[in-house]
């Protein structure tokens, strides 16, 4: 076994190795967070169903739909995950900050600075950023509109849950 052999080789190294693993397990179990470079590796361990509702984004360039499938999958991920993160970043970052505030306020004697742990974004920045991502699709200077829909898998196709329920994510200037 490795650990007894490591102990024979170097007691300090063995104690460090075991403490290293134990510390990360403690942080994970007790605090419910991870600490780089040790992570919780689920790899799709959570239960997923065919009937789960999916959030899908549709993107239009000058009112013409942008077909994502034509690009390598990396570009699709870049567009779709970025949009999903953009939609929820405010609430998400505040939640993360609250979790760490519980622990760090004791050490620092003050709460974490919101300007460091949340984004200070304006629409102009977001539009420029998304147009830059869309350069991969060869339409850098067009008016881009993004909408999110909820879909469900039914009868071998992905169908909108509700035709009315379409949410505007953003529409850029020309």
């Amino acid at each position: 076994m490795f650990i007894p052999r490591l102990f024979k080789h170097s007691k300090i190294a063995a104690v460090c190795f075991v403490s290293f693993i134990a510390l990360f397990l403690y942080i994970n179990y007790k605090w419910g967070v991870v600490a780089s470079p040790i992570y919780q590796l689920g790899m799709f361990s959570g239960v997923a169903h065919i009937a789960d509702t999916q959030t899908v984004y549709s993107i239009f360039s000058d009112n013409k739909p942008v077909v994502l499938n034509k690009q390598p999958f990396v570009y699709n991920d870049m567009v779709l995950v970025s949009l999903s993160r953009y939609e929820s970043h405010e609430q998400h970052n505040r939640n993360v900050m609250e979790v760490f505030n519980k622990f760090t306020s004791r050490l620092l004697n003050q709460p974490l600075a919101a300007e460091v742990f949340t984004n200070n974004l304006n629409d102009q920045d977001v539009h420029l950023w998304f147009k830059q991502i869309m350069q991969g699709y060869g339409m850098p200077n067009n008016k881009i509109s993004v909408y999110s829909h909820r879909y469900i898998w039914k009868n071998k196709v992905l169908m909108p849950v509700n035709q009315i329920e379409i949410k505007k994510v953003f529409v850029t200037d020309l």
Binding site: L6, F44, S45
Partner: protein, 287 residues
């Protein structure tokens, strides 16, 4: 076979080649700080990462292209430097490894909160350089075994999570995952073979679940590695199969974990030496 400096050099070159291939792939797809030019971040429940954020490094990355270029350059140059120092058996190798590990942790965390790439994808670039902290073959090979154990633990734990979270007990699991992962294929006009293949799997939950079960079984088989090194070659093949299937079916690139395979390969050199190392002194030792 004795452990030698040659093996340290070989592992350093293997690490550099894996890193260069992954970085080349990332650059080709526009996945560097310089290319993505992020404007916002999406924080993670990561203690170490949030301590890093206290330095406001992420704010500099969000606002300055010079900082982004510097980060990308360091990201490429540090592994080259480390490999060069390992090849020359330089006394600065340990220092270079420490800097590389710390920098890669900062880079990976910041990149994961500013792009769509998960920090877990970059895990090998934070963990594997630990072996280069040690210059003497004996210490180096102990570190190789330690990292090998961590890798096996990481991979085996994914199977444990699938049992604990219940994914493995759900026959719809893989079909549900495939819809979620590739939903954009089904809202646009597309006649690709890939879309037909994914639709075929979604419509056959038992077949797609068989793939999920096979992947979980592959992860679970890594438990063998805790007890023996005899099957490490088999584990290497299993892992290559796993990452290839992940890339082809799920469109997730875990080839960045290839540097871990060096631990499985090079740890075979330790067995003989470790046993020799513990042998009692004989008269030859005093000559």
């Amino acid at each position: 076979m004795l452990q030698t400096y040659k093996h340290i050099r070989q592992y350093a070159v293997f690490y550099l080649l894996c890193f260069a291939a992954y970085f080349g792939w990332s650059f080709w797809h526009g996945l560097t700080f310089t290319q993505i030019k992020p404007v916002f971040f999406y924080n993670q429940l990561d203690l170490t990462g949030n301590i890093m954020l206290l330095t406001k490094i992420h704010l500099y990355l969000l606002t300055s292209q010079t900082v982004r270029i510097t980060f990308d350059l360091l990201y490429i140059l540090l592994p080259v430097l480390l490999t060069a120092l390992a090849i020359r058996q330089s006394p600065y190798q340990t220092l270079a490894a420490i800097v590389l590990i710390l920098f890669n942790m900062v880079y990976a965390f910041c990149f994961s909160i500013m792009s769509f790439v998960s920090i877990k994808v970059m895990l090998a670039f934070m963990i594997v350089p630990i072996v280069f902290l040690f210059k003497k073959p004996r210490n180096f090979f102990m570190a190789v075994e330690g990292v090998r154990l961590l890798f096996i633990l990481f991979f085996f734990s994914t199977a444990v999570w699938k049992i604990r979270a219940g994914g493995i007990f759900n026959i719809d699991q893989m079909s549900g995952i495939l819809i979620n992962q590739h939903n954009y294929l089904f809202i646009n006009e597309d006649t690709s073979h890939f879309k037909s293949f994914i639709a075929y799997l979604i419509e056959r939950p038992s077949l797609s679940y068989a793939l999920y079960f096979a992947a979980t079984l592959a992860e679970m088989l890594f438990i063998i590695g805790f007890f023996t090194k005899k099957f490490d070659k088999g584990l290497i093949i299993l892992f290559l199969l796993f990452v290839s299937m992940n890339y082809l079916v799920m469109h997730i690139n875990y080839f960045s974990w290839l540097p871990f395979l060096g631990c499985l390969y090079f740890s075979k050199f330790t067995t003989e030496t470790t046993s020799n190392y513990r042998q009692p002194f004989n008269s030859a030792d005093f000559e």
